[in-house]
């Protein structure tokens, strides 16, 4: 009880004493810091420039350039057929195969060249002679190979 009364007394004394006053330039100093581009203390800058720049190892440049040359030799081994060309070839093959398989070779549509009709007939004959299980296996393996290729490309481009 006594302790609580003492605490209240102290608080009332402190409140009566009021807050300490800051200097008259307090606000302007703060606003100058907030609003303007900070000024450089020349003396501090001179001292820092003289002593605060750190030195990396002596062979720093050599190490970086060795790694740069490593990158160069790696990138100089390029495949003859670019990825873009491969993509175009694969897409063309898929489109042609699907088109030929879906079209009826007995009644070719207008504008379908004769050799394509022959190819279609050949594929149809071949497909009808192969057991269905073989075709499914072939399709599944193709999907896996293409999937693996795509995942590797994505992985490589992310690691760069």
């Amino acid at each position: 009880m006594k302790a609580k009364k003492r605490s209240t007394d102290i608080r009332s004394h402190l409140q009566k004493a009021g807050l300490d006053k800051a200097s008259s330039t307090f606000s302007s100093v703060i606003m100058k810091e907030i609003e303007g581009e900070p000024e450089r203390d020349i003396q501090l800058q001179t001292l820092l420039l003289r002593h605060a720049v750190e030195q990396p190892s002596v062979n720093f440049t050599e190490s970086v350039m060795d790694r740069v040359k490593g990158l160069e030799s790696k990138s100089s081994i390029q495949p003859v057929i670019s990825r873009k060309t491969w993509a175009v070839v694969v897409l063309t093959c898929i489109t042609l195969t699907v088109w030929i398989l879906l079209s009826d070779p007995a009644t070719p549509g207008p504008g379908l060249p004769g050799y394509l009709v022959d190819v279609g007939k050949g594929i149809n004959t071949f497909v009808s002679g192969v057991p269905l299980l073989y075709l499914i296996t072939f399709f599944a393996v193709s999907v896996l190979v293409v999937g693996d290729y795509v995942i590797r490309i994505v992985g490589e481009s992310r690691s760069r």
Binding site: L44, L49, R50, A52, V53, F60, L71
Partner: protein, 187 residues
């Protein structure tokens, strides 16, 4: 290195000649390393990160279009590489950013007759005692003479936060180095 020569080197590199990159590395290695060291606080990691920063900059050099200073662009990469390294080490960036260095002391040691090496050591120690974010901003502002806008670009921090860190860092450094200045300019 003047701007024209630097531009020539960069354009040559962009055109596929890696050789002039050695001049670029030579020119900027100290500041890149200093920035990495201010962030990581470890010489070995700082060296790795600074090198990695240069390699990444080389790989992306075709993206540099002379819209800003090359150094600003390069240090942005070094800064981000260092921050990634910190994250890899599972250090909490925010706790580092807001850290209050408990060992920071306002008392300057008695500085008399300091030799250059001792002086250098003293200045470096004063910077080391600063919280890392303040040390970094001080480094960019005073050593590399980056403008507020450039520091914003490099660190991604707001202008207000940079100013606060600059203000705090400068005040602490001034207190730390007061003795040194008085020693240099008696009377």
């Amino acid at each position: 290195m003047d701007n024209t020569r630097e531009r020539g080197y960069i354009e040559a590199i962009q055109n596929g000649d890696p050789a002039p990159y050695a001049f670029i590395v030579e020119e900027y290695q100290h500041m890149a390393y200093t920035i990495a060291l201010r962030i990581l606080g470890n010489a070995e990691d700082a060296e790795d990160v600074a090198q990695e920063g240069f390699i990444r900059a080389y790989q992306k050099i075709n993206q540099f279009q002379f819209r800003s200073k090359f150094s600003t662009w390069l240090y942005t990469i070094v800064y981000r590489t260092a921050i990634s390294k910190l994250k890899e080490g599972r250090l909490n960036i925010f706790s580092i950013s807001d850290e209050v260095n408990e060992h920071y002391t306002l008392d300057s040691p008695q500085l008399e007759q300091l030799e250059v090496k001792e002086e250098q050591q003293f200045v470096k120690q004063a910077i080391l005692r600063l919280p890392k974010p303040e040390a970094l901003v001080i480094t960019l502002f005073y050593l590399n003479e980056n403008s507020l806008k450039e520091i914003q670009e490099i660190t991604g921090l707001s202008s207000a936060l940079i100013k606060i860190r600059l203000f705090r860092g400068r005040k602490k450094l001034e207190r730390e180095l007061r003795g040194l200045n008085e020693n240099q300019n008696p009377g």
